[in-house]
Amino acid sequence: MNKILLAVEDLYCAIGGREILRALSFTVRESEYLSLIGPNGAGKTTLLRCIMRIVPFQGGAISLLDMPLEGYSQKKLARYLSYVPQSEDRYLPFTVEEFVMMGRYPHLSPFSTPRTEDREAVESALRMTETAPLAQRKFHTLSGGEKQMAFIAAALSQQPRLLLLDEPTTFLDPRHAEKIHRLLRGINRRLNIAILSVTHDINNAVLLGDRVLILKEGGVKYCGAAGSVMQGGLLEETYDKTFSYTRHPQTGERIIVPDVINHEG
């Protein structure tokens, strides 16, 4: 089993007096793919933002490679962690290449201009995300799928050990969503970058993830093998609703199918 990369212990976080996360503990191992699911408002985004130190937490500890987060400067932290925020209508006055190059920030010293290795990292990130043809395009001219790819490219050029993603496929059509899923799988398997990805797509969370972390009301409901998520009424308890299951025609794994809504009475 791989070494522990990130350990979250007894995390407590409140924002504006409202408790968001409480007594939350889990670990992420090197090069593992951990899917993060849970109802709206369970604290998934806040958890990612605590790990990236975008929002402060008030209790518990997060440690990266056995050292508490407080021991890292933000710049050093960014050499290990990278974050792709929820896609929103964000205006960026840059070209794709400029933005991806900005991912090299934690590896640059002040005043220095990009070196060969920085250019190579950018090039390979562009290539891997298939955004190389878009390199000179302005950000606001991109489609939603292209923007998401460019955001992932920027996070990749940072060369992190753990990539945090917040609902990377929520607003994408099935084809683009699948592209992102393939890409994430490739990043995980070929580059050995660990992934912690928030999603509402339970099927894909289970199919893609080595393990699945389920949050409910700010705490851990489940953290374990992806295979057991669809069993024992776990999802029903998590989402307070019933689910219909079937078997995947190719793999035989249990998956969810949409419920049929009857309009009776």
Binding site: A78, L81, R90, Y91, P93
Partner: protein
């Protein structure tokens, strides 16, 4: 692509510098460049040229460059093209500091930096914190909250300045009024030297943060996840802009809108990458103010129009244009803070 930008910045710099070189030869007293070079000008003209016009142009250049650079830093930090030290009331804070010093007649100075500049600097810092606090009090940034906070701070300081002017004697009162309009007619080399440390220190801090400014334009969360120490960067940049605005305002009054127009025009020409935008704004802002100042002393010569009046006349419509074009909404603002 990158080469293009270098060429663009260089071209902009050359045009700007030619304005600066041309400016001291223009005025009531015609002075020809050839004559100055050959040393064939009479004593009076030589005095006008070397002891009045050259320092005046230098001061105007430094002031314009500093204001443009401050405006650019504000636009990036507040993620809004309408955010500048002037529109957000930082200039009036600095003006209040300078007026307070004038009226109370304290007489301190630190090394060779005048007490008036230091007082302006201190109040610039205070008003930045005020505006920033007011903007952040409501979650996230919105153009409305930000501009209203700026207007509030502006009004507050302006009325205190008016009050101080009202209670001071006639001479002081006139001095305050004239100074509030903004101008360089007092500029000699001494004032250039007193301005220089503010512009240099502030400028160096801004130039050292081009990467951080880029990332902060993308959003605080992106900046943090790329490793920018946002708090420290913001503190440093607020300090740097306070230095520049405080220094400029105490010397030549709150000259309006340069900090909004110059960086924005440069953005249209060289793009938003601060690696190119910073030098462009610095040089273009300087030249732009030199240009306005040259107008100010020649349009109705021998009388002068205060340069602040000219920049306001240009800046007002520009500001409205930006507001109406929807560019301010369309740009940085839809992000969360």
């Amino acid at each position: 692509m990158k080469g293009n930008k270098v060429i663009l910045v260089t071209a902009l710099a050359l045009i700007s510098l030619s304005v600066v070189v041309w400016a001291p030869f223009v005025g009531m007293e015609k002075i020809s460049p050839g004559a100055v070079l050959r040393g064939q000008v009479d004593e009076i003209k030589a005095d006008i040229f070397w002891r009045i016009r050259i320092p005046r142009v230098t001061a105007a250049f430094c002031a314009g460059a500093a204001l443009a650079l401050s405006g650019m830093a504000f636009q990036a930090m507040f993620r809004n093209p309408l955010a500048t030290p002037f529109t957000l009331g930082v200039s009036s804070g600095a003006a209040f500091g300078a007026t307070l010093y004038l009226v109370t007649g304290m007489g301190f100075s630190l090394l060779f930096i005048s007490g008036q500049s230091l007082s302006a600097l201190a109040w610039a810092v205070i008003s930045i914190l005020l505006v920033y606090g007011l903007t952040r009090a409501r979650k996230g940034f919105s153009t409305a909250t930000m501009l209203i906070a700026g207007v509030a701070v502006n009004f507050f300081f302006s009325s205190v300045i008016l009050f101080m002017q009202y209670i001071s004697d006639f001479t002081n009162s006139f001095r305050i009024i004239r100074w509030l309009m903004g101008g360089f007619e007092i500029a000699g080399f001494r004032s250039v030297f007193s301005l220089l440390p503010f512009v240099l220190i502030g400028g160096i801090i801004v130039f050292a943060h081009v990467n951080e400014l880029n990332l902060m334009t993308a959003g605080e969360d992106i900046a943090l996840s790329r490793g920018v120490n946002v708090k420290r960067t913001r503190t440093l940049l607020f300090f740097a802009t306070s230095m520049m605005v405080g220094g400029v305002v105490s010397l030549c009054g709150p000259i309006a809108f340069i900090g909004m127009m110059a960086p924005h025009i440069c953005r249209l020409i060289v793009g938003s990458n601060h690696r190119y935008l910073s030098p462009a704004s610095f040089i273009f802002g300087g030249a732009f103010l030199v240009f306005c100042d040259t107008w100010s002393r020649t349009l109705i010569a021998p009388a002068e129009i205060p340069v602040g009046v000219i920049t306001s006349l240009l800046g007002g419509p520009f500001f409205l244009g930006l507001l109406l074009s929807g560019l301010s909404e369309y740009s940085f603002l839809k992000n969360r803070g």
